[in-house]
Symmetry: C2
């Protein structure tokens, strides 16, 4: 393992994620991927065992980061408002670091084979942690009495789509983006 340089397998997975975002998992052929890596299709199999394994690698890594991250946030000894801000910040950071992986996670998870159960479990756990934070917020009267699911999926809906426009707005600094998103998602867009 060389942490400094990139394994060929990692290079393949990163390239694959980029193609998956462009055309979707099913429309990307091993020959497409090979050409982009600069190699013949058969050569890929010296580094990976199947196309499906690539998807597993791309999606599960990022999914685990999200679920582990929100679990840590939930257990932090901070106020609910700070936890919500931390969740938003995590989404921005993980998405900015890996927008292509986020696209695959959002759009191609159903093509996972063996790893689909694991993914669905991670997603369910993530949502459950988020729900608990929201419940805590409502109990402490920090959050309004709006349907939990509406709060959850409204917020998550915006955050899940970050991968679509973060690359276009590279000029927008991360910290400024996080601030704007927190203000927008938590306090709304209308003036008081």
């Amino acid at each position: 393992m060389k942490p400094t340089t990139l394994t060929r397998k990692q290079e393949i997975c990163i390239t694959a994620a980029r193609l998956f975002k462009q055309k979707g998992y099913s429309a990307v052929t091993m020959r497409d991927l090979a050409a982009e890596v600069g190699v013949k299709a058969a050569s890929l199999y010296n580094h990976i065992t199947s196309k499906e394994e690539i998807l597993n690698e791309v999606i599960l890594n990022i999914a685990e980061s999200f679920t582990q991250g929100i679990q840590d946030i939930r257990l932090e000894d901070t106020k609910v408002a700070q936890k919500l801000e931390a969740v938003i910040a995590q989404h921005v950071h993980l998405t900015a670091d890996n927008p292509y992986g986020m696209a695959s996670l959002n759009n191609d998870w159903m093509h996972l084979g063996e790893g689909k159960e694991k993914y669905l479990s991670l997603r369910s756990t993530y949502e459950q942690h988020f729900r608990e934070i929201i419940k805590e917020g409502k109990a402490q009267n920090v959050l309004k009495d709006i349907d939990e699911e509406v709060i959850l999926f409204s917020t998550l809906g915006t955050l899940r789509n970050l991968y679509l426009w973060i690359p276009k707005k590279a000029d927008l600094q991360r910290s400024k983006l996080i601030d704007s998103l927190c203000e927008t998602l938590l306090n709304g867009v209308k003036t008081a």
Copy 2:
């Protein structure tokens, strides 16, 4: 044209949209679609000319509804806040009426052939109308001084994902959902 009963072509497109949501356009084969319609694959071609035409039919119809709708809203003689609520309501209605088409529009537009330009143009026009409403809101001090793009894509991010959870929350009445979404998106989730 029989408006009361369903054309075979329409039936094919509706079935196709449902499959496109499940597996994505590329992963749905004409044999899959035919089996679901209850017919052999070759028979589909008595009603459609290609797989791509189906995608055009599914996506462009709904895209036109959105763009026409927001244009009407923008020209309404109402306050900005009402326009924003109308945009949210339109999203809920169009999505609830056709969640599968919305999924295809979100995830499979890049597989459009001839119709891709038209789609991109419609989407661009839609976003431009939305931007203008936001500008109007900021000018009248109805909206906070937050980056326009953040407001646009934050709101749109939530609305674009409605198709993912509207079917699961069929119990949630439309009008109640619209109210909750307006409150959440416009006034935020935190207590004042």
